[in-house]
């Protein structure tokens, strides 16, 4: 009796437990799906098996009768792999796991979906072949697989997705041709398959995709002619084929693409002229055909594209004139025609383009003057006309009405002065007017232009001085005033140019000293004051400019000695201090400049010996020139270490002793001028030296060149070099015959490292 009661209680209790505890089938499926994912941030924490249904779980959307219709798990830092269990959700319409780190393959059986319309796997790490199994999900309207590592080809099965409206598969590693079966996809509106490795021509059948609006195939390896077949597509608004290998001409049929708003053909190999039919594209807003091989002239009919906002025809071979009625395109914001062969004047009518923000006509053969009308363009931001043959003045009110940011009119024939209001709105960052014939002073408006980062005025006829006010331009990283008629001092406030990297003042009339405050310029990398009238000594604070790579002080009246601290400028690649009045010793610390490729110290009054440390300058390649000084003593044998050196100038000094054998071992040497010294002995008889002109060695009383009759030598077994191939015991015979004559080793005089050359002779 008691046992039966217990049994009833147990059964009742069990039923209650079962009623309270069961998660529905869909929840179980989702938990199985979650199992193969990693969720380090616990975003799916509330996916709880104790719930009865998953409709309140993160990312889950249910219908009114608690069926899961949408799984949206985008951007939750999920990793792990994709489980095909999820396709068992019978009512699922949208699945989005984009912007996670899910990896591995898309499973083969990931296609049991019965109602799926939107599948978004974009921006993950899926790595497998193009998932042809998905092509069986015939309910699919939107397929997003972009930004993964899918490879292989898009196979014909893609044509099975008859409901497909959007195919977004860009940024993968897909190869092969676009299958002709895409023509079956009558509802397809958007194809975005850029940044893959698709090849071959576009199939003719694409013209059967009647609904196609956006065709995005940029950055592939597609080739063949311009796809004329697309003229059938009356809905096509965007044709995006940039950075492919399309070739041939743009056909006149382009005029039939009447819905086009965006035509991007840049970065291909199109040839021939731009057809005049382009003017029929009344809806065209953006025209990008730059970086091709187009020739011929810009058709005047282009001005019929009255809705155009951006036109870029740059980097082609266009000739002829800029059509003046381009000024009718009143919404034009961007006009780039740079790097062509355009000629004639810049039409004044371009000044009617009220919305123009970016104008670049650089690198052409344009002549005439800059239209004054450009002064009226209120939104003009980037203004570039450099490298043409423009003359006349720069419009004097340039900048008065416009918040200019970038202005480059360098390399023309412009005269007159720099417009005073060019920085009126304090937005100007880049101003290049170099290589013109501009005169006058730098206007006050530039001295207060705090936004300025680069000011390039070199190679003009400008006058005035580097007044203190300029040093308030804290954002300035480059100041180029070289080759002008600037005068006056370099102010000590130059130390305020905290961000300056390039300070190029050469070929002017600057005078006075280099202020010691130069040492504050820790970002300075290039400092050139050559060919001025500077004097005084080099401040040792210059050694604080540790980022200096190029230092040129040549052609001034500097005196005194070179501070030792210059040896701390270890990034120096070029050191030019020639043609001054430097005195004293050449500091051995210069041996620390291990990146130096060129050292020019000729034409000074340096005295004492050549320091052996110069032999440590292993990167010296272009030239070592210490000619025309008062140097005495021996040529250090260590110079034989400079194995990349091409030119060595020690002439016109008072060097004595013999030429070290190691100099003969300088295999890259093409020129070695030792003339006008007191050298004795024999010129090295290596192949390199045999090619040098005798004038390199004249003016040395005791120096003889082998072969001339006053040169004594001991007989030697062989005169020509005899290469020995790995035969032990054979000698490499360099014809240093006189080495036998003068064996008192010069190496004893200097602490040097042994060269390979000297080792084999030992």
């Amino acid at each position: 009796m008691g046992g039966q009661k217990n049994l009833h209680l147990t059964i009742l209790f069990s039923c209650i437990i079962v009623l309270v505890q069961s998660l529905n089938e869909e929840g179980t499926i989702l938990l199985e799906f979650k199992n193969s994912l990693n969720d380090p941030y616990l975003n799916l924490q509330n996916w709880n098996s104790l719930d009865s249904n998953p409709c309140n779980w993160t990312g889950i959307l249910c219908s009114s009768n608690y069926k899961v219709i949408s799984v949206h798990l985008s951007g939750l830092n999920l990793s792990g792999s994709l489980s095909s269990s999820i396709c068992r959700l019978p009512f699922l319409m949208k699945m989005n796991v984009s912007q996670n780190f899910i990896s591995g393959p898309i499973p083969d059986n990931f296609n049991c979906f019965r109602n799926l319309e939107i599948l978004d796997l974009c921006t993950n790490r899926f790595h497998c072949e193009f998932p042809n199994q998905i092509c069986n999900i015939t309910t699919l309207r939107k397929l997003y697989l972009c930004e993964n590592y899918l490879f292989g080809e898009i196979l014909d099965e893609i044509g099975n997705l008859v409901s497909l409206e959007e195919l977004v598969i860009y940024s993968n590693n897909l190869t092969g041709e676009i299958p002709s079966s895409v023509g079956k996809l009558k509802r397809l509106k958007i194809i975005r398959a850029g940044r893959n490795y698709l090849s071959g021509p576009l199939p003719v059948e694409i013209s059967e995709c009647e609904s196609l609006s956006v065709l995005g195939l940029a950055e592939n390896w597609l080739e063949g002619p311009f796809p004329i077949q697309l003229q059938k597509l009356k809905s096509l608004t965007s044709l995006i084929l940039w950075n492919n290998q399309f070739s041939g001409e743009i056909p006149p049929e382009i005029g039939n693409f009447t819905s086009l708003e965006l035509l991007a053909l840049n970065g291909n190999k199109f040839t021939g002229a731009i057809p005049k039919e382009i003017g029929k594209l009344a809806q065209l807003k953006r025209l990008y055909i730059y970086t091709n091989q187009l020739n011929g002239t810009i058709p005047v009919e282009l001005a019929d594209c009255l809705n155009a906002v951006e036109i870029d025809l740059s980097e082609n071979r266009l000739t002829g004139f800029i059509p003046k009625n381009l000024g009718r395109i009143s919404n034009l914001v961007l006009l780039y025609l740079f790097e062509n062969h355009l000629q004639g004047n810049i039409p004044n009518e371009l000044g009617q383009l009220k919305e123009l923000r970016k104008l670049d006509l650089s690198i052409n053969n344009l002549t005439g003057s800059i239209p004054l009308e450009f002064q009226n363009l209120r939104f003009l931001k980037d203004f570039q006309l450099f490298n043409n043959h423009l003359n006349g003045i720069i419009p004097p009110f340039l900048g008065f009405n416009s918040n200019l940011s970038i202005v480059d009119i360098s390399k023309n024939n412009l005269v007159g002065s720099i417009p005073p209001n060019i920085c009126r709105f304090q937005k100007l960052t880049f101003l290049s007017l170099g290589s013109n014939k501009l005169s006058g002073n730098i206007p006050h408006g530039l001295k207060t232009c705090k936004s300025l980062e680069q000011l390039m005025l070199g190679d003009n006829l400008l006058t005035g001085s580097l007044s203190v006010e300029y040093t308030k331009l804290q954002n300035l990283s480059a100041l180029e005033l070289y080759q002008n008629r600037f005068s006056g001092l370099i102010p000590s406030e130059v130390g305020n140019f905290r961000n300056i990297e390039r300070l190029l003042l050469s070929h002017n009339h600057f005078t006075g000293h280099i202020p010691s405050e130069i040492g504050k310029l820790v970002k300075l990398a290039a400092f050139n004051v050559s060919s001025n009238r500077l004097f005084g000594s080099i401040p040792q604070e210059l050694g604080n400019c540790v980022n200096l790579e190029r230092l040129d002080l040549s052609g001034n009246f500097f005196t005194g000695s070179i501070p030792d601290k210059i040896g701390m400028l270890v990034k120096l690649e070029l050191l030019m201090i020639s043609d001054n009045r430097f005195t004293g010793l050449i500091p051995g610390s210069l041996g620390g400049l291990i990146r130096l490729t060129e050292l020019q110290m000729g034409g000074n009054v340096f005295s004492g010996a050549i320091p052996f440390e110069l032999g440590q300058l292993g990167a010296l390649q272009i030239s070592l020139n210490i000619s025309h000084n008062n140097l005495t003593g021996l040529i250090p044998s260590s110079l034989g270490n400079l194995q990349m050196l091409e030119s060595l100038f020690l002439n016109d000094n008072q060097l004595s002793g013999e030429i070290p054998n190691s100099i003969g071992g300088l295999r890259s040497l093409m020129e070695c001028n030792l003339s006008n010294n007191n050298l004795v002995g024999v010129v090295p008889n290596t192949p390199a030296f045999q090619k040098m002109d005798a004038s390199n060695f004249v003016g040395n009383n005791g120096l003889c060149v082998l072969g001339s009759n006053h040169c004594r030598l001991l007989p030697s077994p062989s005169l020509s070099p005899n290469p020995s191939w790995f035969k032990k015991g054979s000698r490499k015979k360099n014809s240093q015959h006189c080495f036998n004559l003068y064996r008192n080793d010069l190496a004893d005089f200097h602490r040097v490292s042994l060269l390979d050359y000297e080792k084999t002779e030992a």
Partner: protein, 207 residues
């Protein structure tokens, strides 16, 4: 999503083709010392970039990046620098092959890739560098043969492929007649000078 497919990709300042080539190099290497920091593609031309030297026509003539702690690979775009005379990339940690495109550098006088980690073959296309005087590839891990085509480089003064893993025979004609064993040493599989007029079948499988 839009930006990827129809950006107005013409940047607001012109980048000449040589600037593109150099910037491709910057993207191909890793630069822990920030030697290439000034290589900004939005600047007008590469002539203001540090370690780049231009001539009066603003064409790049020198690239000085020796001993700069660069790692990564040489890019084929370097072959576009038509006026380049000096390509100095020695003493870095560059790996991968010597791009055959370097054979397009028709103005090249000096090619210094020594002391890197380069692998693969010496490209025969280097024989097109008719102005080449200095070719230093020593201290790498190059394999394969020394291309015979290099003997037609009439101006070649210095040739150094020592300390590599080259195989096959050593050309002896043309400019190679003046190179000594220093240029070839420490290549354990190099067989010695080619024997002219003697057909030789390789045993060791040198490609």
């Amino acid at each position: 999503m839009n930006n990827l497919l129809f950006c107005s990709c013409s940047s607001s300042i012109v980048v000449l083709l040589t600037g593109d080539a150099l910037y491709a190099l910057r993207r191909g290497v890793s630069d822990p010392e920030n030697v290439l920091q000034s290589w900004d593609p939005t600047l007008v031309d590469p002539c203001t970039w540090f370690h780049v030297t231009c001539d009066a026509d603003n064409r790049v003539t020198r690239l000085d990046l020796g001993n700069a702690k660069l790692t990564g690979k040489l890019v084929p775009e370097l072959g576009k620098l038509e006026r380049l005379q000096y390509l100095e990339l020695y003493m870095n940690n560059l790996m991968g092959p010597v791009p055959a495109e370097l054979g397009q550098l028709k103005s090249l006088v000096s090619l210094d890739l020594y002391h890197n980690n380069l692998t693969g073959f010496v490209p025969p296309s280097l024989s097109n560098l008719s102005n080449l005087k200095f070719l230093r590839l020593n201290g790498n891990r190059l394999t394969g043969r020394i291309p015979r085509e290099l003997t037609k480089l009439g101006s070649l003064k210095i040739f150094d492929v020592s300390n590599n893993d080259l195989c096959g025979t050593i050309p002896t004609s043309g400019s190679f007649s003046k190179f000594t064993d220093e240029s070839f040493m420490n290549n354990s599989r190099l067989e010695g000078p080619e024997l002219m007029g003697f057909v030789r079948y390789d045993v060791g499988g040198c490609k």
